[in-house]
Each structure stands twice: as C-alpha cells, then as structure tokens.
C-alpha cells in the first residue's frame, strides 16, 4: 500500500519544520520515512498513519536529523574540490593570466587617484556582487539546495579576506603613485576566485535543475 499525497505532504512539512531545509536532502528523508511506514502497514500494522508516523519518529528522529547536520562538512568539501579542479584546469590558468593582464593594462591607463578610489570601494563592490549572486542564484523556485547554498560559505571567507586586505592597504597608501604590483596581484586573484565561484554556482544550478526537475 502506498501512502497518500496528504500523508507525504505531512511528512515533508514535519521534516521542514524540524530544520531539514535543503530540498535535495529532505526528499530522500521523506522517501525513507514513507517507505518504512508502508513496510509496517504491509507487515500488518493496522493503525492510522499518524500513530505509525509518531512511533517511527520517536524511535528514529535523532538519527534522521543527525545526518542533516553532518552534510555541511561533505558539501563544503565537495564545493572546495570542484573549485580546485576548475582552478587547475586550462580555463582556470588562462583566465587568471587574462585577468592579470587586463588589470595591469587598466592600471597603466587610469590616473593613480582613480585606481585608488576603485580599490577603496572594492570591498563594498565585491560585497554587492556576492550578495547579488548569493541571494538571486542560490535558490531555485524558492527551494534551497545543499551544495548551492553552501557556496555562500566561500563567499563569506573571501569577503573577510578582501575586507581585511583592502582596509589595511587603503590606510597605508599614498594617493600620489599608482597602486603597487602586490595589491594588483591580490585583486587579480580575488577576481579570479570570484569568477570560479560564480561559474561553479551556475553549474550547480544547472545540475539541480536537471536532476530535480520532477520536484521543481
């Protein structure tokens, strides 16, 4: 006997309210709980769905919710691995060199004070870009997906590094001369990592779109 749509919806709502916010994780838990309840019914448990569900949760809720917490570590590691793979690919190396060349060309054409002004506001500009990418593209039709949302972890790390380095740079620089090569190199690397994260975000979106098309 298969559970009704209402029963499935009840399990899903219960898990969502219990903190299982990621759709890719929750749908698997819903199926697990539903399958176990169906097995119990098929084995002769004649009670109403809610009583069987309640008993199952009393026995297994701790195990179910434990896996939800442990997934962050796996998701972060998986995202880092994907970024590293991109960084060491031909595209990664060519884009790093291209960005470096582009920034050095821009620096040679702009007046020193203009370049300094750009660098002064760099943390704010980068924060706005992060915010746009994170809040607009890490959700698909209001649903949250684990790998996609955990990309925010790397945005946060990157933002703190940017903030720290540019703040200390801006407070110690003279506005008369062009920015040194060290800060230009740092800017190139930051923009490059940002580019890799953005590409990864869009690839994950397309992965979730194709794999979870039935749920969206």
């Amino acid at each position: 006997m298969a559970l009704s749509t209402e029963n499935i919806h009840f399990i899903e709502t219960y898990l969502k309210k219990s903190g299982v916010v990621f759709m890719d994780i929750r749908l698997e838990m819903v199926d697990h709980v539903a399958s176990e309840i169906e097995t119990r019914v098929n084995d002769g448990d004649c009670r109403d769905f809610y009583f069987i569900f309640k008993d199952y949760m009393v026995e297994n809720k701790r195990h179910l919710l434990k896996r939800s917490d442990g997934y962050y570590k796996i998701a972060d590691k998986s995202n880092l691995k994907a970024l590293f793979k991109k960084a060491t690919s031909v595209f990664g190396i060519v884009s790093l060199l291209g960005l470096g060349f582009l920034l050095l060309t821009v620096r040679s054409y702009l007046e020193p004070d203009v370049t300094h002004t750009i660098l002064k506001y760099a943390p704010m500009i980068i924060l706005i870009l992060f915010g746009c990418i994170y809040f607009v593209f890490t959700k698909i039709k209001k649903e949250r997906f684990s790998l996609l949302e955990r990309i925010g972890f790397y945005f946060a790390i990157l933002f703190h590094i940017v903030n720290m380095v540019y703040s200390s740079y801006n407070s110690s620089q003279s506005l008369e001369s062009s920015p040194g090569l060290a800060i230009m190199f740092f800017t190139t690397v930051i923009l490059w990592i940002f580019l890799l994260i953005v590409i990864n975000t869009f690839q994950l979106r397309s992965f979730y779109f194709s794999k979870y098309k039935h749920a969206l």
Partner: protein, 111 residues
Amino acid sequence: MANSNLYKGSLTTIILKLLSEHDKMYGYEITQKVKALTKGELKITEGALYPSLHKLEAEGLLDVEVAKVDNRLRKYYKLTEKGTTETVHKLSELEQYIATLQSLINPKLSY
C-alpha cells in the same frame, strides 16, 4: 545486533558492493537489503547511511537519479565508472583485512 562499531569502517564498501550487484538502489532499499542479507544482524541507521552515500557521491563514485514513485520523489544511486573501479579496490582491501584478522584471531583457520 552485534557491536555496530565493528562494521563502521566497512560501510562504504558494503554500499559499493551492493550497488555493484544492482543497476540502481535507493537509501531505504539498501538498509532493507543489508538487514535481509545479514538476517537482521546489521541494521544501518539513516544517520550512518545517507552521509556515506553523499560522501561517495561527492567523491564521484556514485551518480544520482531522481524519479517520481508513489506520490513522492525517490533518489536512486548507481555506480559511476570510477565507482566500479573503486569497488574492486575496496573489496580487495576488505578481504585482505578479514584475512589478517583471521590470522590473528584464529591462526589455525587462516589462509
């Protein structure tokens, strides 16, 4: 049930072995299969199974497929090419481990 800690290190190998014998499997099916094969001796909890599946997926050893079954969505796992190779390697490692343990615990029966 026996001390489940003894099985912990072999969980991924057990999952890979089961998947190598089936085209694709979903989480609950794996727990039931293990329970049936071990006559209830080993029960894999949700808290242990799913993080292992996700880890294997993240390592590129498993691929996922989501399908609609009985009013709900079901996530199936299947071995990738890399996963098939890794299964052979992990099984060989486990066999070696069992043989070593055997020679320590019961030297007369060791092979």
